[in-house]
Symmetry: C2
Subunit: 474 residues, 2 copies
């Protein structure tokens, strides 16, 4: 394993370039989250001109710190980084993550040579480098955070991201769906440790149940593909690939000096290895959420319960287009549903487009869900709540519906996903956020559209089918 | 023209089945919005048991109203509708929209026969029927509204929707992007007036610049296709088609008793006729917004300005995947941008992934936009604001950025679209809503992702290219 374990579980951390100004970038991005989280590691700000930073004693250099430092994050200007690397390499540090930019991503000298020089210095002293031009590590169990004001929880998803922006966005977006990171690394220019190293590490890591990756270029294609195959054989791997077009390739060169390949080649490789592809960060979050919160489906036959004729028609289309099967309900089930649901302007065939009377009566809506869940012709259940139609009734109504849905979902053992439609409409979106979180906290995956729910669910089903761990569908 | 003009410009309106209870469905859905909007038409509630409803004198029947009624909306139970149709047909009304359900969409008798009977009665008296199982007309210039608490403005988009839910959602979602309806009809089961009638009408209508449609089945395929061809030759037409899968077809039968065709056949037809397809209501809103608010592009070469390496890489991929061209900036422009932007960790090639220093300084960010807009190698400009990265700075910061972007966009004649990334994260989404509205009010289209902006923009470009009204790209 080439990634030292201490990178994700440091007992001592140095923040080089921290400053007493809390708004300075290095302090804000690294020191603040470490203090906010109450990190149990010993934290050493390094700044030759400061006596104390945020209540911690500051050290003039790495060499002045009274112990060997497990993890160094360095935010000084590019030209000053070789000196930091030299200090680390004097047996004073194990892993050096470099936030500083101005290296190979500039496409120019002296950045290119400077990057090579730093890696040379570090490796001669046995120090592994993350970056440069990166945010480094986020490892909640070790108290190492890149964001504040999120639940300080550790989960079982690990994310390797060439982009720092996507790394941070994923941390927060996932937390809002009750999905938490086990380990995350933003690895930028990948001058030393690269995507293959982290993929190997997460693939073999016992704390990592699911792997997400944002990758632009690949430094060692053979090693990377081998790591991908091994990781994917062991656990779900979802990859978002940047730079698959000519325009994107040019942009990756400027972003992380990466060289990336064609879209078709990637898609073929991923299919062959059972690796899931995400087209954007939303889709990545959807798929990861489905793996984390959706009970394992035993097949691809789906029952859909909601209100609204157009929404039901499109939901059926979306599910079938995503590869799910929407079987018609048998007469007996329709008869049971019809015993308390008007047939006027509704449908009781699947999707259930229920009546306004039933939809706005939580007990009757829950009874609908119970009846559908009980039918052995379906393997999965989607419940659609319509926040747009609830705007005039208010968030309390939607919240009561959410509660009823969650309770009904708790009475079945089948996997249940909840869709809350808000259509980009402010009031509806605000209500959907509140009730979405409520449903996620209760343990159910929540999606903003049936098509996103269906695509993510299909990935989970295909994953288990591909491994023979799912049952065949009808 | 088979749709009477008075359907969209009634001087007198009857609401049959209104009740003094403001929460009853017919009162809430129809009478309340008419009173809220200060509709200039004479409004007659019809209810045999009420003297007065919401301050208006109620009439026991259509025949008791002292004038010929232009537009009747009827919400009484299905079995009572034939009597209402009979009253209308006694020369007392011109157009009868039927909100009531319980007709052919039940797939059962007596609903099927009842629907036929109503249309027979009405046609013998020269009355045209909209629905049943629909919301009927929304026509802001005439004060006829289906929603309250939206700006009471008339626009130039007309929407024919087989679904009432999508009709209402579109009204509100479009208004939040400063896009307003000229005319809208929710036409449900289409027992008399159908999609071909409304498409013909909107195609020839001087007030309608752009047509949106949600269609499940088609009653008169030949007439519909002729209307589609004619409308599309005259103005942009965007269609969202429900029921294109086997599951969706079964659902449409229950929703509006429609018979719909295959996905491939539709796609081919649309391409051939220059009709745009939307996969969901979000995409429909995106495309319509682009036609309404984006200045007409002179080509497909795009300049992208934002912050974040991953976001820039994916933005370039998204644009190229959508058919846009992302040319590399020439050395002179890069040199100009580099005179005030660090090259460390940034890209000045296109997309511009600017530095934190420039991004958080509105004047410097605006200067970046100005320089890129001025380069004659691009036809369109996308500006990407990152609400996720702005969470800790707050909405005022994002709002100041929005203001700077809008001002810079006002200094160029090139089309500008604004992307605000919020990633489904509550705080970021809340900020994006506020600033998105601010940008839309200033006249610019706003999208939640670069891929949605790129796909909508490409539709606009293709539309003009197909008509020879756009210039060729480089």
């Amino acid at each position: 394993m080439t990634v030292p374990d201490c990178a994700f579980a440091p007992k001592s951390i140095a923040v080089v370039g921290a400053s007493p100004n809390p708004d300075s970038r290095t302090t804000r991005n690294f020191l603040q989250p470490l203090l906010w989280s109450g990190c149990r590691a010993r934290v050493y700000p390094v700044n030759p001109r400061a006596g104390e930073i945020m209540g911690l004693r500051a050290y003039p250099s790495i060499t002045a710190i009274p112990e060997l430092v497990d993890y160094v994050i360095c935010g000084v200007p590019a030209a000053a980084v070789p000196a930091v690397a030299r200090d680390c390499a004097l047996g004073r540090a194990r892993v050096l993550a470099i936030f500083s930019a101005g290296f190979s991503e500039t496409g120019e000298e002296p950045g290119i040579s400077l990057e090579r020089e730093i890696v040379d210095i570090a490796s001669r002293g046995g120090v592994r480098v993350i970056g440069p031009n990166c945010l480094g590590v986020h490892s909640p169990a070790a108290g190492v955070f890149l964001e504040i004001d999120i639940p300080p929880k550790s989960g079982q998803v690990s994310f390797l991201s060439q982009s720092g922006g996507y790394a941070r966005q994923f941390i927060v977006a996932a937390a809002e769906r009750e999905v938490f990171l086990n380990k995350l690394v933003s690895y930028g220019n990948a001058a030393d440790l690269n995507e293959a190293d982290f993929l190997e590490y997460f693939g073999a890591d016992g704390g990592t149940a699911t792997i997400a990756a944002y990758v632009e270029g690949v430094r060692e294609p053979r090693r990377f593909l081998r790591a991908l195959r091994q990781a994917s054989a062991a656990k779900p791997v979802v990859i978002m690939k940047g730079g698959n077009t000519e325009a994107g390739r040019q942009a990756t060169a400027s972003h992380t000096a990466s060289i990336s390949g064609s879209r078709q080649a990637w898609a073929a490789l991923c299919r062959q290895m059972g690796v899931m592809q995400a087209g954007d960060l939303d889709e990545m979050t959807d798929i990861i959420q489905a793996f984390e919160l959706l009970r394992r489906p035993r097949g691809r036959r789906i029952g859909i319960v909601g209100i609204g004729g157009g929404v039901s028609v499109m939901a059926a289309d979306d599910c079938e287009n995503a590869g799910l099967v929407v079987p018609s309900f048998p007469a007996a089930l329709r008869w049971e549903l019809g015993s308390f649901t008007s047939i006027a302007g509704t449908s009781l065939r699947n999707p259930v487009d229920t009546s306004a009377e039933v939809y706005w009566d939580e007990a009757a809506f829950a009874r609908t869900i119970d009846l559908v869940a009980r039918w052995d012709g379906i393997d999965i259940l989607f419940i659609i709540l319509n926040a747009v139609a609830t705007i005039r009734r208010g968030v309390d109504t939607l919240s009561r519906q959410g509660e009823a849905v969650v309770e009904a979902a708790g009475r079945t053992e089948k996997p249940v996903a909840i869709v809350i439609i808000a259509g980009g409409i402010e009031k509806a979106e605000n209500m959907a956020v509140v009730v979405g979180r409520q449903c996620a906290k209760a343990g159910f995956p929540v999606f903003p559209s049936c098509s996103r729910a269906a695509r993510a669910t299909n990935q989970v089903i295909r994953y288990h089918e591909g491994r023979g761990t799912g049952l065949p569908s009808a």
